[in-house]
Amino acid sequence: MDGNLNALTTVFTEFYYWVTVVFMFLIHVGFCMYEVGASRRRNHMHTLMKNIMIIPLVTVTFFFFGWWIYWAFPDFPFFGGLNHEMGDANLPWSETMATNLSDRITGVFWAAFLLFSWTAASIVSGSVIERIRSSALWVHAVLIGSVFWIIDAAWGWHYAGWMVKYLGYHDAYASGVIHAIAGGYALGVIMVLGPRLGKFAPDGTPRDIPPHNPWLLTIGIFLIYTGFWGFYAACNVPVISPEVIGGEITGTTWTATNIYLAPTSLSAITFNFLMSLSGGLMAAYVVSKGDAFWTFSGGLAGIITASAGNDLYHPIQAMLVGAVGVVIVYKLHYWVEKRFKLDDAVGAVAVHGYSGVIGLIIAGFVLWGAPSSPFEGYATVSPLGQTAGAVIMFFVLGFLPGWGVSKIQAAMGVLRIPEEVELQGLDYAEHHAYEDAKADIIAADKAYLAQK
């Protein structure tokens, strides 16, 4: 860190990403609260444990190989080999992947990406509650969190990714690279996993399984909203000079950039985050006729739909994109549920998957012709490139692996819990020590009172 300006920039960037990580932690807290609020009481402990253990499992695997994938895979395997120069510096045995005074950024940048990984895995976790084996979900968590999403990030969320170069793929705040892929993955899993017992009447009519605690759900989703501020900020490079970018930008004006190193500002994304949240909430309230569950989720769906282009949209565009996305997502959710008898317990496929896909396609039209990158020779944003990107995210890297791995797990008999256990509740089956302890202490208290 030679020179005061360089030192200040480095320390500011280090602290900036660190703060985003703290904020993004709230997304996981929110997901946990949301899942527990949506689950029935006999499954609380299991639901919570299932989501909490995503944290360590995705963290260690993202350290072991996830982070390396991001740096090694931008062209691999279709447009070149592995990038060993960048990849090797991010292997778990690299000196910069540790306490190192000559590199103050890798740790916080790694953590910012890692928190995205938790989110991707947690999205899948919500849709499968109350009937999946924890062991099965945790394999999926590692795959979506430390393999598939980070492959898509290398391809489409990296300044040198092949999707950016050749398709003009633009996804500034991860409509596709996090939400579409996680929603697609969840869809693949629940197609094989099947619905919860009682979800569908004998004639196939879906039954509502209402959340047991709407307040917990509300606080959960508000924590997710809060964490999304960190998510958005983490998608930016906070301050960088054109000289360091090394692209076609002229002059000496420093700027914030998106992940592609193309210019934007924190102010712009603040406008658009709030306006797309508002568009989503308003449209969801109207389309769901005031249903609380859908209205709150609609705010999130609005943000997710607009996220692909929220670095460049006008705030009113962000609002309208969010609103239009929510209406389509709502209709699509119920059509798919009825048509294919799929039980997405928290609406994750819709709120994340469908919103992400729709957001990518809309961005292709609204940002048609805009440069996807500051570097020469990259394709510009187009509806075709964005639609191809949406298919890659949702279907190729999301749905197919989720469905394929679940098929293998189902064939081995290790995907779903036994029916008897589902009826009596997972907490007794897997956390019986907790239940037995409760029963024992209640019996002891009663016996003591009886002696008095």
Binding site: N100, S102, P210, H212, G425
Partner: protein
């Protein structure tokens, strides 16, 4: 002798890189870490399968009913948990 390679901080920090203990053993530490991770999955998978198999054959209806009853009448988180109480 120091495990981190420095016995004093009387150094120019511009010349300092890694300062963690046992430098040179990164690959070994990675192997140990991966074994720990895979081993955890193995232990958890085996234990969960046993739990589910046992739970499947419990057949103690009274005990299960009592557990379910406690769920309904138990926690009152945030004052809203009674909203689905059975009649």
């Amino acid at each position: 002798m120091s495990t981190i390679g420095y016995e004093s901080w009387a150094v120019d920090l511009a010349e300092v890189g890694a300062i963690y203990p046992f430098q040179g053993w990164e690959m070994t530490m990675t192997v140990i870490g991966v074994i720990f991770w895979i081993g955890w999955h193995r232990i958890q998978f085996k234990r969960e399968s046993e739990h589910l198999e046992k739970a499947k054959m419990l057949g103690d209806t009274d005990k299960i009913t009592a557990i379910v009853e406690r769920y309904w009448r138990g926690l009152t988180w945030l004052g809203a948990a009674d909203y689905l109480l059975p009649p």
